[in-house]
């Protein structure tokens, strides 16, 4: 279980990116929000046909729609982030982590050679991958093993 090596060998597809939730650029912000709420996610891919053209995230919603007082009826194309940074499913995990760190992104669209979106890789999947790597005993150890609860359990 050598984490440094595995991060270089394991590919993005090993992290099982979530299925691509998508809208067309001409759909409204309202429709996008409804889909994001339904799937409890913070971002949605904007696709024209089979091709990824942008990404719409909760941050875009706050900064480019609500904060400037635009109505939710505007098309997603007006407030999305165009041409997002992406990863290929065969890219090693280190590449994905580096791209997230570089741009400060929490989501990366996973696209194939043809530019077709296959899913979204979120930073949470990477955290879970790290946690899986170490025995749970490591995590279950209380930070202060000598601490004693003030009240007996169940009291």
């Amino acid at each position: 279980m050598d984490l440094a090596k595995n991060l270089r060998i394991d590919s993005v597809s090993r992290l099982q990116p979530s299925g691509p939730l998508q809208v067309r650029p001409d759909q409204t912000v309202d429709e996008a929000i409804e889909l994001m709420r339904r799937d409890q996610v913070g971002c949605i891919l904007v696709c024209q046909g089979d091709c990824l053209v942008g990404i719409f995230t909760e941050r875009d919603l706050v900064l480019r729609v609500l904060a400037v007082g635009k109505p939710l009826t505007i098309p997603v194309a007006e407030c999305m982030t165009p041409d997002p940074v992406t990863v290929h499913p065969k890219d090693p995990i280190t590449v994905a982590v580096a791209r997230m760190e570089e741009g400060g992104y929490r989501h990366l669209p996973v696209v194939n050679e043809a530019g077709r979106p296959l899913g979204v890789l979120s930073v949470k999947k990477i955290v879970h991958y790290l946690v899986e790597h170490f025995p749970t005993t490591v995590y279950n150890l209380p930070p202060d093993p000598t601490a004693v609860p003030k009240a007996p359990e169940g009291a």
Partner: protein, 171 residues
């Protein structure tokens, strides 16, 4: 469980050697196999240099909260009471799920009813493993660092990833 003292093969989980009464509890503690694991088990949250907390009062309006988010370029705010004690967090996700699409005038509503109350916290003395585990279980991207109920910082998933990938590069 082989007793390190006399070599007797005890039942797994025994507290003391049934042959020589040697204390065996230490053998159950996990040991670090590499640098990363060692750092996660031994280094404390304070090492990540938690960022200064950005706070709002529960009675601040959503307009003020969004402006604070914009001016600090952050996606989450800590909500505090009048004594400065942490009572909740208010994030972009709360805006997405509870606020967008409300009738006109929502900007002037207070943050309190829309925040996520009683957030999971860490202290600067907790281990990195403990914090990472909390992030994974709850799916949190940020954890407030508190001291006696008052926020003194925030650590993010990104701080944690940066620390771990840096260690991996050094190996």
């Amino acid at each position: 469980m082989i007793c390190p003292n006399c070599g007797y093969d005890n039942l797994p989980g025994s507290e003391e050697c049934s042959s020589c009464q040697q204390d065996l509890t230490q053998l159950d503690r996990p040991t670090a196999n590499n640098r990363v694991e060692q750092s996660l088990m031994e280094d404390r949250v304070g090492l990540l240099e938690p960022r200064k907390p950005i706070t709002v009062k529960a009675d601040a309006t959503i307009r003020e909260a969004i402006q604070t988010m914009m001016s600090h370029s952050v996606g989450s705010l800590l909500v505090v009471d009048d004594d400065g004690r942490l009572i909740g967090v208010f994030t972009e996700r709360d805006i997405l799920t509870k606020i967008a699409g409300r009738p006109e005038g929502w900007m002037d509503l207070p943050v309190g009813p829309f925040m996520t109350p009683k957030p999971e916290c860490v202290t600067s003395n907790d281990t990195l493993a403990f914090a990472l585990h909390k992030m994974d279980i709850g799916g949190y991207r940020h954890l407030p660092v508190v001291r006696e109920g008052k926020p003194e910082g925030v650590i993010s998933v990104r701080d944690m990833l940066r620390h771990i990938t840096q260690l991996c590069r050094e190996i």
